[in-house]
Amino acid sequence: MNDTTLGPVIEAWRIRKAFGPTQALGGVDLAAERGQVLALLGPNGAGKTTLVRILATLLRQDSGQARIAGLDTVTDATRVRSLIGLSGQFAAVDDLLTGYQNLEMIGQLYRLSTAEARSRAADLIERFGLTSAAGRLARTYSGGMRRRLDLAASLIARPPVLILDEPTTGLDPSTRLEVWNTVDALAAGGAAVLLTTQYLEEADRLAHRIAVLDHGLVIATGTASQLKDKTGGDLVEVRPGSAGEFDQVVAALRPLAGRLAQDRERLRIRIPAPDGATTLRAVLGLLDHAGVAVHDIGVRRPSLDDVFLALTGRGATSDPTAPPTAAPPPRRAGRKAVRSRT
């Protein structure tokens, strides 16, 4: 690997794109460096795929500039294409070719020699656990196998820039975990990875930096913890089991009245807890004293969903398909629950 190129390898400046009267991107700036995973987080329709298509030279922006390793995606498109690996939302593999043939073909089209394309195809087949299926037509593959093959195809030229558009959408938990591990390994190997996701825990788990995209604009960027700080740190969350309990809890917590954030609709009461457990103990004391039962209570770190809510006033998961989780995401401080059912 040659590190003569310093600075960001994925850059976007003031990218605008409209489809007829609909503005898809309203002036987006982005940057990612070697060895970095940049997550583009946003709900459906936020403009993630449009931005990915522009960076991957599949679509031309109306204004602004995008560069890959310093090369303009419009004027130097061919060279840009030899530097990127793209894996889209829909696994782009040829159903009527075998897994091995798919990889060989893509490798050759990346201008690898036939011998090189074949040896790399064989390596990737093994690395992605497709050895026994290598000679079978891709149409016989399961969804997870197809996605693995698609990801392998995007890696065959060992591109320094990976663009992954919702790489885990529709995957089962174990395959999702495999994709996550692959992304980690790619970044550790020095690649710059741009990935889009609707899944908050995915961005949290994988990304060094997160750009939150909403209605074609980046509304926040930063590390996961920087974004979480925007919501004001830890809090104690009390979840009463019913509307009646909700009122009882509010009454019992009257001494903390100035700090309560009440959400009657979701049956949720939150109290900022800069000192974590002390606040929790105080809340539990007040509830015990009043003899009030609650469904759940705990100290909660803000999730990226809270961040989205704080930034936009809406939840990020307006999408009815709830984000499935692969495993307890290690980098995420989950709920430290203390249950009390008095």
């Binding site: 690997m1 040659n2 003569t4 190129t5 070697r34 991957a56 030279t57 599949l58 390793a69 310093g70 090369l71 130097d76 061919t78 060279r79 294409r81 030899s82 530097l83 990127i84 793209l86 889209g88 939302q89 829909f90 696994a91 782009a92 593999v93 040829d94 009527l96 070719l97 043939q101 073909m105 893509i106 050759q108 089209l109 990346y110 201008r111 037509l137 195809a153 890696l155 030229a157 060992r158 591109p159 320094p160 390994a185 790619l186 190997g189 020095g190 690649a191």
Partner: protein, 265 residues
């Protein structure tokens, strides 16, 4: 995994040599696909075979053909019909657009024209196979090449050349409708009147006057007449240059149109 080399070392341009290699890779891909779907080949061959049987044994007795048996008259028409109906370019391109495969190709440092050229060349290979089968069936039904092997080969070459030019029209169609099912129907219907209002199955002289005007001028008649002259004998140069002109015309119009459509899609 190590990242790739210095960007400056990456080949910058699409060269004629790289384009030829890309075309070869894409053609091979499409030939693999054809080999994996023999049923498609069978069904596109069954249709002309049924037509041979239907026309020779059912309608043929009622159709007067000047100076030759009906089988000899009919088969040149069936050859042309086989090539025009058998093309898969429109459906295949629309399928790639719909499946995301095309996005994959566009994100690669390959010649974009290779996607189209590789597709149309693969269709030509397909046509060679189906023409061979239809010829064999035709000969069982009484068709013969009465004009020598060289002329017979020239006839097949003429059909394949026109078929190749025609597949660029199909490419435009597929890139325009962008949906495999629509491409299937859209590729079939417009050809129908050209096949039937031609000299493919019956002499044009038997048609009403207004239709004769159309039938005499349109490319299917021209090509069928050229193939008939080459396989059965008779004056050929008139039809030959007209076929060449139509073929060149199709290429001149539809190659640039398909390429520009592809770039804009």
């Amino acid at each position: 995994m190590t990242a790739a080399a210095d960007p400056a070392a990456i080949p910058a341009a699409i060269t004629p040599a790289s384009t030829v290699r890309d075309i070869a890779i894409i053609t091979r891909r499409n030939l693999w696909r054809i080999a994996r779907t023999p049923q498609l080949l069978v069904f596109t061959t069954i249709q002309p075979v049924l037509f041979v049987l239907l026309f020779v044994y059912v309608f043929g007795g009622a159709i007067r053909t000047p100076g030759m048996s009906y089988a000899d008259y009919l088969l040149p028409g069936i050859f042309v019909q086989t090539v025009l109906f058998g093309g898969t370019t429109a459906v295949a391109l629309a399928t790639d657009l719909a499946s995301g495969m095309d996005d994959r190709f566009r994100s690669l440092p390959m010649a974009r024209s290779a996607v189209l050229a590789g597709r149309t060349l693969a269709d030509t290979s397909r046509n060679i196979i189906t023409l061979a089968i239809v010829t064999a069936v035709g000969m069982l039904a009484g068709f013969r090449f009465h004009n020598g092997a060289a002329a017979a080969l020239a006839a097949m070459g003429l059909i394949l050349a026109f078929g190749y030019a025609f597949s660029w029209f199909s490419a435009v169609l597929g890139l325009t409708v962008k949906d495999p099912q629509t491409a299937q129907i859209a590729g079939f219907l417009p050809i129908f009147p050209f096949i039937f209002a031609s000299s493919a199955f019956v002499p044009v002289a038997s048609m009403p006057g207004w239709m004769q005007a159309f039938a005499k001028a349109q490319p299917v008649t021209v090509l069928v007449n050229a193939v008939r002259a080459l396989t059965q004998g008779g004056p050929v140069s008139h039809w030959l240059w007209q076929t060449a002109a139509w073929t060149a015309g199709f290429l001149a119009v539809f190659v640039p149109l398909a390429v520009s459509r592809y770039r804009k899609t």
